[in-house]
Symmetry: C2
Subunit: 334 residues, 2 copies
C-alpha cells in the first residue's frame, strides 16, 4: 500500500518518467516495445496514478461541479443523472453537492468547488437574490451555467423551462374543465422559477376570469409536508376553490394526501395539478395532472453551454427557456 509513483514505474521499465507519462496518456507516440514494458511495469507494481498531481500540472481536473437545492427531490436527481450522462460523453466527472436550500451552505459549496479547481459549475440557485453574490463571484472564476432557476444580474448562461408557458397550459386546462376559482401553493423562497410560476398563475387566471381569493396563495417550501400542511389550511379556511395549483409535484402529492385524509374527493370536490412530472406523479391516488419538464434537454443544453465556454472566449450569456408540456391524469378528471 506504499504509494507507487510514476518514478517507480519508470525505473522498473528502464525508461524516463516522461516516457511513462506519454505511454499512459496514449496521445503521444511511443514505440510499441516501450509501451509494452511500461504496461508491464504498471501491472506488476499496481500503479494507479495520482490525479491530483496531474491536475496541478495540467491545471484542469476534468471535473464539473453541480449544486442543487435538494438531493432528495426526484426532479433534481433526474436532472443530475442526465447531466452526469451528458458529461460522461466528454470524459468528465460530476462532483455533486447539495445546498439544502440554504444560501450559506450554497456559498460554501461554491467556494469549495472553486478551490478544488473544477473546470466548470452547473448550479440551480437557492434564492433569487440571496444567491447572487456567491454566484457572481464563482462565475467570475470559471465557466458557470445556471439550470432550472436563475439569479438575475449574473453574467452567466441559463437553461430551464418556460414557466409562464407552463402556467398558461395548466390554467388553460383547468379553465376548460370549468374551474372558476383557484388556489396556488408554492415555495416561500423567492427563486426565479417560483416567482415566474406565481406570476404566471396570477396573470393567466386573471386573463381567463378565474377568481383567486385572498389567502389562496400559500407560500412554504417545495416538500410533501408543506403541501399537506397548506391543504389542511385551505380545508380549515372554508369553502374550497375549484382547483388547487401546485408549484411542484411534491407539494401536490402532499395536497392529495391531505385531501384523502380529510375525505375530500379528487377530482370530484377539487382539481389538483403539480409541476415537474416526477416518476411518482403517475402513481399517486389519484394520478397527478402535471407539467412535464424537458429535463433531459435541459441537462444536455447545460453541458453543451459549459463545453462551449471551455473552448471559446466569453460570449453573450444565453438564456434558454425550453417548452414544457402538459400531462393530463385523473387529478383533473383524466
Amino acid at each position: 500500500m506504499a504509494k507507487v509513483t510514476i518514478r517507480d514505474v519508470a525505473d522498473r521499465a528502464g525508461v524516463s518518467t516522461a516516457t511513462v507519462s506519454r505511454a499512459l496518456s496514449g496521445a503521444k507516440r511511443v514505440s510499441a516495445a516501450v509501451e509494452d514494458q511500461v504496461r508491464r511495469a504498471v501491472q506488476e507494481l499496481g500503479y494507479s496514478g495520482n490525479g491530483i498531481a496531474s491536475a496541478l500540472r495540467r491545471s484542469r481536473t476534468d471535473t464539473v461541479g453541480m449544486i442543487v437545492p435538494s438531493i432528495v427531490n426526484p426532479f433534481f436527481t433526474s436532472l443530475v443523472e442526465s447531466v452526469e450522462h451528458a458529461l460522461q460523453d466528454e470524459g468528465r466527472q460530476l462532483f455533486l453537492c447539495s445546498s439544502r436550500s440554504d444560501p450559506q451552505l450554497e456559498e460554501q459549496r461554491l467556494r469549495s468547488l472553486v478551490a478544488r479547481q473544477v473546470d466548470g459549475i452547473v448550479i440551480s440557485p437557492v434564492h433569487g437574490t440571496g444567491s447572487t453574490a456567491a454566484i457572481s463571484w464563482a462565475a467570475g472564476e470559471l465557466p458557470l451555467v445556471q439550470v432550472d432557476r436563475y439569479v438575475t444580474g449574473v453574467d452567466s448562461d441559463w437553461v430551464g423551462v418556460d414557466d409562464d408557458e407552463a402556467l398558461r397550459l395548466v390554467v388553460g386546462h383547468l379553465s376548460g374543465r370549468g374551474v372558476r376559482t383557484a388556489a396556488f401553493i408554492s415555495s416561500r423562497l423567492t427563486s426565479s422559477s417560483t416567482e415566474l410560476r406565481v406570476a404566471g398563475f396570477q396573470s393567466h387566471t386573471a386573463r381567463l376570469g378565474i377568481a383567486v381569493a385572498p389567502g389562496a396563495l400559500l407560500l412554504g417550501e417545495y416538500s410533501i409536508d408543506w403541501g399537506r400542511t397548506a391543504m389542511q389550511r385551505l380545508l380549515a379556511a372554508g369553502p374550497l376553490p375549484d382547483a388547487v395549483v401546485c408549484a411542484d409535484d411534491l407539494i401536490a402529492l402532499g395536497v392529495l394526501q391531505a385531501c384523502s385524509t380529510a375525505g375530500v374527493a379528487v377530482p370530484e370536490d377539487v382539481l389538483v395539478t403539480g409541476f415537474d412530472d416526477i416518476p411518482f406523479a403517475a402513481l399517486s391516488d389519484p394520478p397527478l395532472t402535471t407539467v412535464r419538464q424537458p429535463q433531459a434537454a435541459i441537462a444536455t443544453e447545460a453541458v453543451r453551454l459549459l463545453s462551449q465556454a471551455f473552448r471559446e472566449p466569453p460570449h453573450e450569456p444565453a438564456r434558454l427557456a425550453l417548452a414544457p408540456s402538459l400531462v393530463v391524469r385523473a387529478s383533473t378528471g383524466g
Copy 2:
C-alpha cells in the same frame, strides 16, 4: 480572472508564502499584525486558494467518495444525504457517483475516485460477485466501507440492515393476516441484500407454512417498471397468490399500479408489501406496508467507521446489521 496565487498574496502583504500559509490555515501562530495584513491582501486580490496544490502537498483531500447503484432511487438519495450530513461535521466533502447498476461503470468510478485521491470511499456494491475484484483492489488502496449491500471476501467494514429479520417481520405480518400463498418480486442482480431477502422470504414462508408456487419468484431489477411488468405476468399466469412481497418500494409501487390498471383491488384481492419506506410509500394508492430501514443510523455508522479507519491501524472488519422495523399501512389491510 488571472490566477492569483499565494505568492501574490505574500508579495502584497510583504511577507513570505510560508507566513501566508500559516496565517490562512489558522493553526500556526502568527502575529496579529501580520495576520491582518494577509487578510487584507487576500481580500484585495480576491485570492481563493488552490485546493489541488494543497492536496498534493498534504496528500489528503478532505474528500470522501460515495458510489451508489442509482441516484434516482429515493432510498439511496436519503442515504447519500445522511452521509453528506455526517461528513460535514468533520469538515469533509462528499464526491458522489452513480454506478447505474453497472459493474463496469462501478469499477471506472472506483478507479477515478482512487486516482483523485479521495481520503476514503463509501460504496453500495452493484453485484455480489461482479463487484468483488474492483472493490477488493480499492479497499487495498484506501479506507472503504460498504453500505446496504456488500460483497463477500473483501476485507472491509459493512453496515446495513438485517435482511433476514426484515423478512421475518414481513412474512410474520402476512401470516397473521391469513396469507397462505405468496409471491416474491425482486432484482435479478445477485447483490447480497437481494440474496438475503430472497433467502429470508423462502425460509420464513416455509417456516410458517405459506406456499410459494413455482414461478412465483420473479427477478428483474429495482424499478417501478419492473414491478409493473412482473405483476402483469403474475396476473396473466393465473390464480393470484394471497400476497406479493417486493424487495423494494419501487417494485411495490409498480405492482400497485399494475393492480390498479387491471382492476385488482389491494388489499381485498391481494396484499402487497415493499421494502425501504421511501417517502412515496405513504402516498401510493393504497399506502404501502413496508420495511423501514434505519438509513440515518446506517449513514452515521458508515462515517464513524471511515473516520476510525483514518485514525487507527487496520482492524477486524466490522459488520453491522441494524434492526429494521415494519410499517403497516393499507396495502396489507392497514
